[in-house]
């Protein structure tokens, strides 16, 4: 570490200022007399009392001060403070509900307001900025995430957030929630797995015969261009016709609506990113490597399994990552044709104008997409082939 101060950070200052304005202008939360009726909003001061309002404001000012003042370990301090702030953030909601939820009406519930969401969003942005400046590795990032999520989980377990309407919606249908989770994962991951096998077979064929390349790419990019709602819709008619003609299929659960057209459409969408990445990965392995292997007397089979495939793996996994994120989102749309999953809550909630049911579907959908991103990026990094020479060089230079 140099003895010079780290230069001031304008990004944190700007975000902090914005957060301070928004948290005072927007409603922190609302209280609803029941599920459907829209509630009354409470600003920061009314919602959290003077103590809460002062804590939030002073906290944000402290972040901005840390970003500007001449400091040596600016980002480490900011990182710790931001992690603490995010971990403690839901406590603001606990304070709010304990002060404002009417005890006598069992249907009353509290909802999270735009002010709280803005504060959460801007704090996350600040944390992303700080983590970037600190050049934290994947392990450090995961550590921060675990701390924050553990804090939230503890609060939920203690029942501090039970009166939140989001929690109420969950508690009135825990079985449905688990079933939706299972259906969502089965559909999305099933489509990804099947398209992976299909894409791999197609790419092997394309590598052998060049005549296959153009038509395969043409078809898969054509499929990707068709909007999801249209593709789901277009598959309904042929599948119903098929099951009408062959009643045996109905016994298998295949119908015009339901999981069958959803799975077909999801596979169709997954093919483009999967084929593209697998093809690029396998064909762009440096010829010198293959020649060297051949010179060592490796058979074609060995060349493929021991040289080409391991080198191509990170790019192939990248294709799986893009496909999985995409499939998690599209599965939510598939609820429209009765495929189940978290989309069911979203569209039910929209139909009943029950906003917290919408959130109960939308937030886990986003969560699954982000989780897929985290897990598969980590896998891609772990599979990065590291030649022995590079490792040795690293060891000597860092030691």
């Amino acid at each position: 570490m140099s003895s010079l101060d780290e230069p001031p950070n304008r990004v944190i200052t700007a975000l902090g200022l914005l957060a301070l304005v928004l948290v005072w202008v927007l409603d922190l939360g609302t209280v609803q007399p029941n599920r459907i009726v829209s509630g009354t909003g409470y600003g920061l001061f009314d919602a959290a009392g003077w103590f809460g309002a002062v804590t939030v404001s002073v906290g944000l000012c402290a972040l901005m001060a840390l970003a500007i003042l001449p400091l040596r370990r600016r980002y480490a301090l900011l990182g710790v403070l931001l992690t603490l702030a995010l971990t403690a953030l839901p406590d603001l909601l606990v304070v709010f509900t304990s002060a404002h939820l009417p005890r006598e009406s069992p249907y009353a519930r509290t909802a999270v307001g735009a002010g709280f969401w803005s504060l959460l969003f801007l704090l996350v942005l600040m944390l992303i900025e700080v983590v970037g400046r600190l050049r934290l590795g994947r392990r450090g990032q995961l550590g921060i995430l675990v701390v924050i999520l553990a804090g939230w989980a503890l609060l939920v377990r203690q029942g501090g957030l039970d009166s939140l309407s989001l929690m109420r919606e969950f508690e009135s249908r825990p079985d449905e929630f688990l079933q939706a989770l299972r259906a969502h994962l089965a559909l999305a991951l099933g489509a990804v797995a099947i398209s992976f096998v299909l894409a791999f077979a197609l790419v092997l064929k394309m590598m052998r015969s060049e005549g296959w390349r153009r038509p395969v790419f043409g078809v898969v990019s054509f499929l990707q261009t068709i909007p999801s709602l249209a593709l789901f819709g277009l598959l309904i008619a042929p599948l119903s016709a098929l099951t009408a003609a062959f009643p045996v299929l109905q016994g298998l659960g295949i119908r015009g609506i339901g999981w069958a057209p959803a799975l077909l459409a999801l596979i169709a969408y997954s093919l483009l990113p999967m084929v593209r990445n697998t093809f690029v990965a396998l064909t762009e392995v440096p010829e010198a490597v293959i020649d060297a292997g051949r010179g060592m007397g490796m058979t074609e089979r060995q060349l493929f399994l021991q040289a080409r495939l391991p080198l191509a793996m990170p790019v192939i996994i990248e294709g799986v990552r893009i496909t999985t994120i995409q499939a998690m989102g599209l599965t939510a749309v598939a609820a429209l044709i009765g495929a189940g999953g978290f989309g069911t809550f979203i569209f039910q909630g929209l139909g009943q104008a029950a906003m917290d049911l919408v959130l109960l579907g939308a937030l886990p959908t986003i969560g699954l997409a982000l989780a897929a991103d985290v897990v598969l990026s980590a896998l891609a990094t772990a599979l990065q082939p590291r030649p022995a020479a590079v490792l040795q060089h690293k060891r000597t230079s860092s030691g």
Binding site: S228, A230, A237, S240, V333, I346, A369, D373
Partner: protein, 248 residues
């Protein structure tokens, strides 16, 4: 003229179907024999198409302007500090499923075309932003240095060198964004935006496969037409920039 042949062809098919859906009534009657109405008549297809295109067009214009402006800001000396965060937002934001963004717009903004438009703008600017950053930040510094050495001002370098060279990448971003938004606008029917998704949703709710098919066909054709239009635009741009031209 060859360049524009495919989009014009798709447009012709799309318009023919929009205006002549009635003529296909016997065909849809085959699919849906036991229902009275087999052609969706709650709104005219032309109105739904117009509204759908308008939503995508307005959101693409706002989103592109905002994203390109943001991309330029983050690559100038004034905004360099923001570059890492902005590029992080562009890549993390795309992990959010479009349908979830659409659903989240409702609790905040309510039902209708407005919230749909906001969701389309927010989601649509991410691919453009990412590509603008990639295009501007990925330029060979030697090129901009040469331009500056020729006596060009910072503004001239931006508009006469950087943007034309990054243009193709930015255009590809706009193409991705518009493709996603055509699909998302169709789902916007579920939050009260009147688009070509309406017949699909109405058909799914009432068990009328003919409605579903009509909506799905038109949405699909609109997407294919737009995609081929961008293909043509990209070719034209490539020819313009590649052809030797005296710069300034």
């Amino acid at each position: 003229m060859r360049t524009w042949r495919t989009p014009i062809l798709w447009l012709a098919v799309l318009l023919a179907l929009v205006l002549g859906m009635e003529a296909l009534e016997p065909l849809f009657r085959l699919i849906q024999p036991d229902t009275q109405g087999v052609i969706y008549r709650r709104e005219s297809f032309l109105f739904l198409l117009g509204n759908h295109v308008l939503l995508v067009l307005v959101s693409a214009t706002i989103g592109t302007l905002a994203a390109v402006a943001g991309g330029i800001f983050a690559t100038r000396p004034l905004g360099r500090d923001f570059l890492p965060l902005v590029s992080q937002i562009a890549s993390i934001g795309q992990t959010f499923p479009p349908v979830a963004v659409l659903a989240l717009a409702v609790p905040v903004l309510g039902f209708g075309e407005g919230p749909t438009l906001v969701a389309l703008v927010l989601y649509g600017l991410l691919p453009v932003l990412r590509n603008t950053l990639a295009g501007l930040d990925g330029l060979d510094p030697a090129v901009t240095e040469a331009a500056r050495g020729m006596g060009m001002s910072a503004r001239q370098v931006l508009f006469q060198v950087e943007i034309p060279l990054a243009g193709r990448v930015i255009l590809a971003g706009i193409r991705t964004s518009v493709t996603i938004n055509i699909a998302t606008a169709a789902i916007g029917s579920t939050i009260g935006a009147r688009t070509l998704g309406d017949p699909v949703i109405a058909g799914l709710v009432n068990g009328n496969t003919a409605y579903v098919l009509q909506g799905a066909l038109l949405i699909g054709l609109l997407a294919l037409m737009t995609d081929s239009l961008f293909e043509a635009l990209e070719n034209v741009w490539a020819r313009r920039v590649a052809s030797p031209q005296p710069v300034a």
